[in-house]
Symmetry: C4
């Protein structure tokens, strides 16, 4: 029985890993060859380097999206180390999160493309607003995963409480960041960057917890 | 011997999971940056929001396709929990289903693109008609999986019967929905949506069965 | 020790399965929405159905490629059931095969696109010619996999011999089919189709062998 | 405890394998049907063969990228055979390497596209320069993987030392190759090719080590 359940958890993790791995690899499709305006046969070193330099917002959006999805994978990974059984609610909470994860390149591209235009406040509000829902999806997954019928019985109430408290922070802060885009797009992107660093730091914390 | 067979089932499941995970992630490629008509350097917040709003059928088709494939994965997952051995017939039935699954975004896109045009009846008939074949593929997989030589010996005849009865419903209802598109495309899409909710609800039922 | 080796084989199989699964799913990207010539808002049912009908060579190429890759996966799968250890030669033989597999959609598309043009002989010769190399890659993999230091010790010399004989047939027959394209492209495609059916039938044979 | 840790390593390997497998399969998207200039219905055998021949730098870039990523996968694979535990530092070192791997097709395409233009020195310097960072990522992963708290306790200090010495060579040689592009692009590509052969040969060496 215990083995069948472990296999079951394993298959959900494998499916999720597949989605995370493909979503993160698909990002590289946007890192493309700069197509020079003139004849390519006459391309000079200067025009190639200019082309590469001109595409820097693309590269930045790639790196940001890559690390966003990677950090989300690490959190997902740590969360599932606590799970011992899969039920329907956990399955659908996981499906909703995966849907949000695969679309992350979209708000990132919107923010990167419009950051230096008059549409910057709207674009950054959209970016931060998207992560309100990602944060919500993570929180729903956490609630589904940390029920007594699903998770490892070795977890103390205190640990469960600490987890919930940590993940509850996400949605309201992203919401505030989204609203503040109309004050300053820079402020929004600064808050989002600070949050990514915080989530990265939290992976260490949750890793320690989940090895208990 | 039992271990070798388990490994074998495992590899078929891993391959299938790869196809499902990849098919579901590829959907996100259609959620693209709205390209504004005017100069992007002059993009205003209003024109960005308009662009985002204008693409809503894309987003709806994405969400629908994502959940279609996700629910099919859950059914596939529950079905394979009953399987103990893989033979050639099961292999090919599974291959046929996987082929149908990878193309699901195509009829979804046809329905989304033409729903508000005079071609709506044809587009919706095509959408529902496609799922006649998906339903058939699932039924063939079920027949291949629930033979005594392949599935877990713990299943009662009654359980096997109930499974077959549930999956036999799909093709004729989708066929009726397809024909009814010439009466009203709204009716077709309503029936299809109702069926998705039914399949989602059935996952809970089959999960309970397969944990027996 | 035996366990570490099994894990090792497992990881190579998982990587190969990933490549097969993605290659097979990527095919669906070519099954696209028909873009009607006129205004889409005025699309009639007839023009949509015409658009769908007009794309049939695409759909045929998709189905052919899907089953080609699927049958190759089954053969790969059956072959690796005999493998107990991975060494450098097997690793690189497998890498070469995977490279050939990922490109299968390309010769299929060439054959589908040019079959009804004066370039049909060249296109079909290219298609069959490509599979000379695929057959070669499979034969090299077989040689690497069925060495005494690598494969299961339970295999008799007779079984090994029968395997080698079966796979040795591929390259020369495909080569003949390639040359015959200049006599008749229909003949070439007929031979290739007959070979696919033969490979599909062989999966049953090899499955029986490898369960010994 | 030992089992949980093994599962943990397994999931990181599975995720990495997914990224490698997907990155290597995506390469095939660039091997496309040659679109002939004239009417396709009048395509002659000569014009098709010309079209295929004209695309050879694409095919070469495909083969090079495929084997680059494949050899990197083998190294990754051999390195993780030594790992017994995953910690945060190893997780992020692995994430950085995966990011570098997914983008490998990009510098390859730049080098292939501009090799026969006046921009060749810049393009080849960019190609070799990219691999300075890939080499660095591998070295960082090696440092993270071969700590006493993470790797198998059976490894001798001498083995660890030999590993570090081997991987330390990469970045400075690629840097020299990058600078030498301004002397001769052919020299740069020759050094890079020689290095790929060396890395391929090293897989045999590291495989032997890691089976100790």
């Amino acid at each position: 029985m215990a083995r069948a359940e472990e296999k079951d958890t394993g298959r959900l993790e494998a499916f999720s890993d597949g989605v995370f791995a493909f979503a993160i690899t698909l990002l590289a499709l946007d890192v493309k060859l700069p197509h020079l305006a003139g004849q390519e046969a006459e391309a000079s070193a200067a025009s190639l380097l200019n082309g590469l330099r001109h595409d820097w917002p693309n590269y930045l959006a790639f790196i940001t999206s890559f690390f966003s999805i990677f950090i989300m994978w690490v959190h997902h990974h740590n969360l599932f180390r606590l799970v011992r059984r899969v039920d329907t609610r956990l399955l659908f909470a996981n499906g909703f999160l995966l849907m949000m994860v695969t679309v992350v390149p979209f708000p990132s591209a919107v923010a990167a493309e419009y950051f230096r235009t008059p549409a910057a406040p709207a674009a950054c509000a959209f970016y931060a607003g998207y992560f309100v829902f990602v944060g919500l999806a993570f929180y729903l997954l956490l609630l589904a995963a940390l029920r007594r019928t699903v998770c490892s019985s070795k977890l103390t109430n205190e640990t469960l409480h600490r987890y919930r408290a940590g993940y509850r922070l996400g949605p309201p802060i992203y919401f505030a960041a989204s609203v503040l885009a109309y004050v300053s797009p820079w402020l929004t992107m600064g808050i989002c960057t600070a949050l990514w660093i915080m989530w990265a730091a939290m992976t260490r914390m949750t890793a320690t917890e989940s090895s208990l």
